[in-house]
Amino acid sequence: MIKVLLFAHLQEEVGTESLSIERSNLTVKSLIQYLEKEYPFQSLQKVMVAINESYAKEDDLIQDGDVVAFIPPVSGG
């Protein structure tokens, strides 16, 4: 199982701050495709992904127990 954290407008699109996904050993790219199919995201194409608080690339592998965060373009400062 992996935990998915959502922020900013992504929270509002799906109506929750986090999701529990009953999958593992899949790439970031595969997870994005899965989530876009299963949940009402407008788009995850401009969204960065972090695995366990570090930015990840689309072919990085997500393991069981990982915390995956979807990070829209940031606007702090």
Binding site: A8, G76, G77
Partner: protein
Amino acid sequence: MNEVLFEIVTEPINVDDMVKKVVRREAGAVTTFIGTVREITKGKVTLYLEYQAYAAMAVKMLGKIGDEVSAKWPQAKIAISHRVGRLEISDVAVIIAVSTPHRKDAYEANEYAIERIKQIVPIWKKEFWEDGEVWIGDQLEKTPYPSGKPEKG
């Protein structure tokens, strides 16, 4: 003395406290950058803002920016605090304080830090107007991805 150099906070940030974190006997210059909530952005009147952070990762990324600054300006000491939650007009959202022996470095390292915050630190602001609200993204207006992507952390 507060030794936490990189923080996400919910309470108001005090400039003097931030300066105290970096003042040292060997430093002759301190620069601070204070980001405040601006009322008017591109002609639109903002009523207030809400900042949201992925706090654990944001602190980690602020620390990474600190490491980058130390690599580029070995004699610099830097502290950054970013506030989250609801902020009113003119409230302080972020303070960056940098001390260095000589002033040029203090300006450069400080400006480097704010640019990097806007690239890699997972914090988002939502602007509230008379006629609506919206999450602001991609402030640097580099589109499309991946060219505008944050550097990998």
